[in-house]
């Protein structure tokens, strides 16, 4: 007999909306070790879409690593103000121990201290404000890193060795609204392929993934340079331009009528213009962490146009199946599209 426990039932169960009989069936189903692994995977996915808190993993990682490396088991004090009270109450012995730990931690985790890191999970988007008042929205499965201190501001004299800058390292996709500062400090976005986007105050969307590096500009002006070809003159983009970084290191520029479409993901909409199923599969993999297989090259080449809403991976898969009149099967994180 085929089991009637699937992801939908488990999600309903996590939300507390299953019948007692369904609950009993889940209990029976859980007796299998493999099903427990499946259960935890779905619980994990459910938790990711129902987060109640989003603490940063990096300080926790740094503290745990420091605790393992320290013979005294001293924990590096946190920078959050709520925990400062606890730190000061400990007295002088604590102060000395903590300073030592801080020095050790500071040396081991220079990056963690210097940079703020924000990451989104699969299927999650997040808006954040940078210390200079600029805002950005991160698409799913993306991360940004920027200076915790001195981002866009002058530093105190004794730290004058650190040049104030506005550098953001992006992996994945993000939409930016950059504030122009009175000190005319340039805002630079750096992608993994070495593409630097220099900005003065503007709105644009960057895609910097393994598959594709692309910049779409809505308003204002940005300059593109490649870290590996710094002697080349920068390419200046105009509003409405989309520039794709070719694998050869060349820029390909084209005009689009609707630059807003590049940020449709902020509203859970996806806009396609003769986009092939192959490209959409890559999008599904990046945004939802699924592994997509397409049965034939002909199928992968079929295209879709239009703007559609999709709130999660299942919406997206259903949408593709309906639009192209094809079938798909999903087994946890694997998806197969067939004619």
């Amino acid at each position: 007999m085929e089991t009637i426990i699937n992801k939908t039932v488990l999600y309903a169960y996590f939300s507390g909306t299953v019948t007692p009989v369904q609950k009993k069936m889940i209990e029976t189903w859980l007796a299998e070790a493999d099903n427990q692994a499946q259960y935890y995977q779905w619980l994990h996915e459910w938790e990711l879409t129902h987060l109640q808190t989003a603490p940063d993993w990096q300080p926790a990682f740094a503290r745990t690593a420091a605790r393992l490396n320290s013979p005294f088991g001293v924990i590096q004090p946190d920078e959050e103000p709520t925990r400062k009270n606890w730190f000061w109450r400990g007295g002088n012995a604590w102060l000395v121990a903590a300073s030592l730990a801080l020095l050790l931690g500071g040396w081991l985790f220079v990056d963690e201290i210097r940079y703020e890191n924000v990451q989104t999970g699969f299927g999650e988007t997040r808006a954040l404000t940078l210390p200079d008042g600029s805002t950005l929205t991160l698409n799913a499965n993306s991360s940004v890193r920027f200076d915790r201190f001195g981002f866009g501001t002058e530093l105190p004299d004794f730290l004058s060795a650190i040049q104030p800058s506005r550098r953001v390292y992006l992996t994945g996709e993000a939409d930016f609204r950059v504030r122009h500062l009175s000190n005319h400090l340039r805002f630079v976005v750096i992608t993994p392929k070495g593409l630097n986007i220099t900005v003065l105050g503007t709105e644009f969307t960057v895609l910097g993934r393994a598959r594709k590096t692309q910049v779409a500009l809505r308003s204002g002006k940005v300059e593109l340079t490649l870290a590996q070809k710094s002697e080349q003159p920068p390419l200046t983009m105009q509003p409405g331009d989309v520039v794709i970084l070719e694998p050869t290191g060349q820029f390909a520029r084209r005009r689009i009528s609707n630059p807003e479409a590049a940020t449709a993901w902020k509203n859970h909409r996806f806009t396609f213009e003769k986009t092939s199923l192959g490209e959409i599969a890559a999008l599904i993999e990046e945004n939802y962490g699924l592994r997509v297989t397409i049965a034939s090259p002909e199928l992968a080449a079929r295209t879709v146009s239009g703007s559609f809403p999709a709130y999660n991976a299942d919406d997206m898969l259903k949408l593709m199946a309906d639009l192209l009149q094809i079938n798909y099967t999903r087994d946890s994180d694997r998806v197969l599209f067939t004619d």
Binding site: L51, R63, Q119, R291
Partner: protein
């Protein structure tokens, strides 16, 4: 670590992203396999991967039991710490995910039960769970039911009582602060909190008393109704 690649993608994947994709069936490595590969490099890299993937959702999940931000984070960090220190990651049979979720739920549940019932039941060593990440189905269901009962109890508290309780517990605010902010007397704040805790205790009382009967007597009960 000072590299712009924040989300390390295995290098060979770069070529695999080309189209048509049907030539390369498995394009993105399962997250767990990716962590396994990182563990093959070093424990530190493996744990960085585990923290990156699971720390946030685990804290969010632990919070469903303990309703206290720092406690949730401490529980998750402690599970990671023990897992690392005892080298539990070397003997994982199923997935890291199963182990981490099972261990966090186990700890969070026990923490709350001990806090509310005032009992100190000795924790079975986490080490015992290392080789055997399997929980009994009854235990898994009991954890989930507890989460849902807690949610229901807090939800059903009178509005003011609920607000005071969440400020005190979830936001870790001092009673006097809450009293000042909500314009209440300190006595009222304390009364709200103890009322909320009394209700929560009943969740566990209910669990201890009826949890067993409910799971064991389910079939018998269903027969009676039919």
């Amino acid at each position: 670590m000072n590299k712009p690649e924040l989300y390390p993608i295995p290098k060979q994947d770069v070529d695999l992203y080309s189209i048509p994709r049907s030539d390369h069936p498995a394009l993105i490595v399962d997250n767990e396999q990716f962590v396994r590969a990182a563990f093959a490099e070093s424990a530190t890299q493996g744990f960085e991967g585990l923290f990156r993937l699971y720390y946030t959702p685990l804290c969010s999940h632990a919070l469903r039991f303990v309703y206290r931000q720092e406690v949730a984070e401490d529980i998750v960090s402690e599970v990671f710490y023990q897992f690392w220190k005892n080298e539990g990651y070397t003997s994982i049979q199923h997935t890291y995910r199963s182990y981490l979720y099972a261990a966090v739920r186990h700890r969070a549940y026990n923490y709350l039960r001990d806090e509310l019932t005032g009992s100190r039941v000795l924790l079975p060593l986490d080490a015992a769970m290392l080789t055997n990440a399997e929980e009994s189905p009854q235990t898994i269901i009991e954890y989930d039911e507890t989460v849902q009962r807690l949610e229901k109890v807090i939800h059903e508290l009178p509005t003011q009582c609920q607000r005071v309780f969440l400020m005190s517990r979830f936001e870790s605010r001092k009673n006097q602060e809450i009293a000042n902010e909500l314009n209440l007397s300190l006595k009222t704040v304390e009364a709200h909190i103890s009322r909320a805790l009394r209700q929560l205790r009943r969740v566990f009382f209910f669990n201890l008393l009826f949890g067993f009967i409910a799971t064991q007597g389910m079939q018998a009960g269903a027969c009676l109704f039919l």
